[in-house]
Symmetry: C2
Subunit: 202 residues, 2 copies
């Protein structure tokens, strides 16, 4: 019942994270994780019975790291635009530090769409509350009347897209110049905020 992750266990998990997130479930070789962790392949199976188990551990962590952020939007009772700014700032920072995770999640989920039920469970509990909050801003005349879901999907899409489409964006718009692409990303959070606010404010 070793609840505290062993040194090696954490070590394995870190290695697994790195390889799985970069290469995907199918592209990952257990041997490569072992190498990355500097241990024997059999040790992987000692700590995590199978590739499936190990993958699930990695995926779950990545998923929970990225999804529940949405709840930020409902917790605070500051003005909506303020919360929005705060959220975008946080979320893009998070992606910036883990640029491969969104693409990883998207790909693995579309490989196995039904598995999402296992991961979500009660996660979306307070989404209706968020809808209410947004709709109140509409009746208050602060933002244009529209389906709140459109706003939220646009919000996430605008944050995530430049990262999951990195090779294309970098190549098409920035002549494959990594530095220019990076400075574009740094500016991105303000651009996304302005873009959304300009669009939805009355």
């Amino acid at each position: 019942m070793g609840e505290i992750p062993t040194n090696t266990e954490q070590n394995i998990l870190n290695a697994a994270k790195k390889v799985f997130i970069e290469k995907g479930r199918q592209g990952t070789r257990m041997q490569e994780i072992a190498n990355e962790a500097g241990i024997n392949k059999a040790l992987l199976h000692y700590y995590f019975r199978s590739k499936e188990k190990l993958f699930e551990a990695v995926f779950l962590e990545a998923f929970h790291k990225f999804l529940p952020q949405i709840e930020q939007l409902v917790e605070s009772d500051r003005p909506f635009f303020e919360v929005l700014k705060f959220f975008i700032d946080n979320y893009i920072n998070l992606i910036f530090e883990n640029p491969h995770i969104p693409g990883f999640i998207l790909h693995e989920l579309s490989q196995n769409p039904d598995s999402i039920a296992r991961f979500m469970s009660q996660r979306v509990s307070n989404l209706p509350k968020l809808y209410d909050k947004i709709e109140k801003e509409m009746t208050d005349g602060i933002i244009k009347p529209m389906d709140p879901r459109q706003i939220l999907i646009n919000l996430i899409g605008l944050c995530v897209f430049p990262f999951v489409a990195k090779p294309i964006v970098k190549s098409v718009f920035f002549q494959n110049d990594e530095e220019v692409y990076q400075s574009f990303l740094l500016d991105r959070k303000y651009q996304v905020y302005d873009f959304i606010v300009n669009s939805i404010k009355t």
Copy 2:
């Protein structure tokens, strides 16, 4: 020198498209393509020497089908918002009919970012012309001054995201109801247009 695709050759290509686009390069088994095409596995190698070759054929077709659409935006000399509407309508229709292709391209490119050079070549030739066109709309006071690239990236992202994130979007916002999700997508092209226009028009 058989330039005209044989019946079987096209048959194989179709089967390969289906499997590769759904399962990805690594997730695809040659045997599954053979089954899908109703033929023997050895025949795959008779027509396409290797898995790599076959994959490349599939990827190239998918890539060319989806990327050059951007050029529409520069060809016409109608008012920008009109061209924009036309583009969004077309592009979302295209995705609607091939909903898995964008995710496929995104994933495979991020697995192999350098390969993009092979596929792009002179493709982005008239992108500067598009920038000029947009910037002219800015000096004409029709749209707000901003980096044209931000507009284009937002445009593509807003179109593509609901499809590549289908499982999450469908689950989080539509309780996994396929029909509701579909009707959301149908409405999407108008929403995206409004969202962008509202944001960038002066």
